[in-house]
């Protein structure tokens, strides 16, 4: 997908620049853009190290386990059909906590583990279960408490108060997350009905055949 977006963006820019008479500026932008990217990463490096360092302390110090105890009851409401003692459920809890604490490189492997467990428990079918869909929807919403990259970025561009967007971000995250959860719950009913209809149709057809 990025293949077409990136390639298309540059080709369209080049074609449009001929019509707008901005060929030179567009070429210059390519050169300065490349330089900007490296400058940006260098200026971000220090503060990114600080954050990953701090979150590693939490990871080693067992903060993950502590917070997972608090989250457990909440997640039981979202995944009512999962056994809270199952491996899949425990992995889900760990993944959500890692996401909250901004441990990106711990969250993804835990998440893949969780999906694999759910998949095994469901007999390795190629269709997603409601629990899998809900879990992935949770992961596509941002759960991070401290958006560290963004704050570093604001800082390196001279914001007077880089952290003052945190509370608005929390409010937005909660709204988006709630919308995602309700939509997933609602759609799961719609989809379940669809498959039920298909199944009953098939059974009816079979009955008709045997009757004949």
């Amino acid at each position: 997908m990025m293949n077409y977006i990136w390639g298309g963006m540059i080709i369209i820019s080049l074609i449009v620049s001929v019509f707008t008479g901005r060929v030179e500026q567009t070429a210059a932008a390519a050169v300065s853009g490349a330089g900007d990217a490296v400058n940006l990463t260098v200026s971000l490096m220090g503060i990114m190290c600080l954050w990953t360092g701090i979150s590693k302390i939490g990871e080693d110090g067992g903060l993950l386990r502590l917070i997972s105890k608090v989250l457990n009851p909440l997640l039981r409401v979202i995944f009512p059909k999962l056994d809270p003692d199952s491996k899949g459920f425990r992995r889900i809890v760990m993944n959500i906590v890692a996401n909250l604490l901004g441990m990106g490189n711990a969250a993804t492997p835990l998440g893949i583990n969780a999906v694999t467990e759910l998949w095994n428990e469901n007999g390795k079918k190629s269709t997603a279960t409601n629990e899998m869909c809900m879990f992935v929807v949770l992961n596509t919403a941002s759960l991070q408490l401290i958006p560290s990259t963004l704050i570093s970025l604001r800082q390196s561009y001279g914001s007077a108060n880089p952290g003052n967007v945190i509370l608005p971000i929390w409010i937005c995250e909660i709204c988006a997350l709630t919308a995602g959860i309700f939509m997933a719950k609602f759609l799961s009913r719609v989809w379940d009905k669809k498959t039920d209809k298909k199944m009953s149709k098939r059974i009816n057809e079979r009955r008709l055949k045997t009757c004949r």
Binding site: C49, I57, L63, V137, T140, R154
Partner: protein
Amino acid sequence: MQIISAFAVPVFIFVFLMSGFISRIDVYDSFVKGAKSGLTATFNIIPALVGLMVGIAMFRESGCLEILTKVLNPITSLIHMPSEIVPLALLRPVSGSAAIAVVTDIFNNFGPDSIQGRIASIMMGSTETTIYTIAVYFGSVGIKNIRYTLFAALTADLCGIVMSVIIASI
């Protein structure tokens, strides 16, 4: 609102350090190890970021961005979204690096504390790379029928995008 935001970072660092001391691990050793992984992670995104920042700078300078924002103006003006935010809203679900590139472009042109900068910050912080996440998680076990996942996830994104415009202007 200001106070909670200002205290979030120091409280976060304090809690993490204390958790390390309480469980008696070598906090400095953990910190250095973690910082090293941050260094490699930042280093690894350079190639993607160069490509995407070049693409976005070209898109802006060629006048494409202006055309796109004019075309989408009837929709964005409905929720009072500044037209400069449109590329971010479009690219955010697809690629994290591309979104960083757009946010950087906005900070460069308007500053992080401008209204555009604030909306971009809130949108960037409260949404995720939806398409990529779905591909990684379902791809890892070979799920082909993802049913309603994309619809629900994009609903959440849309909600986050609209809310960030509203909250930034309060």
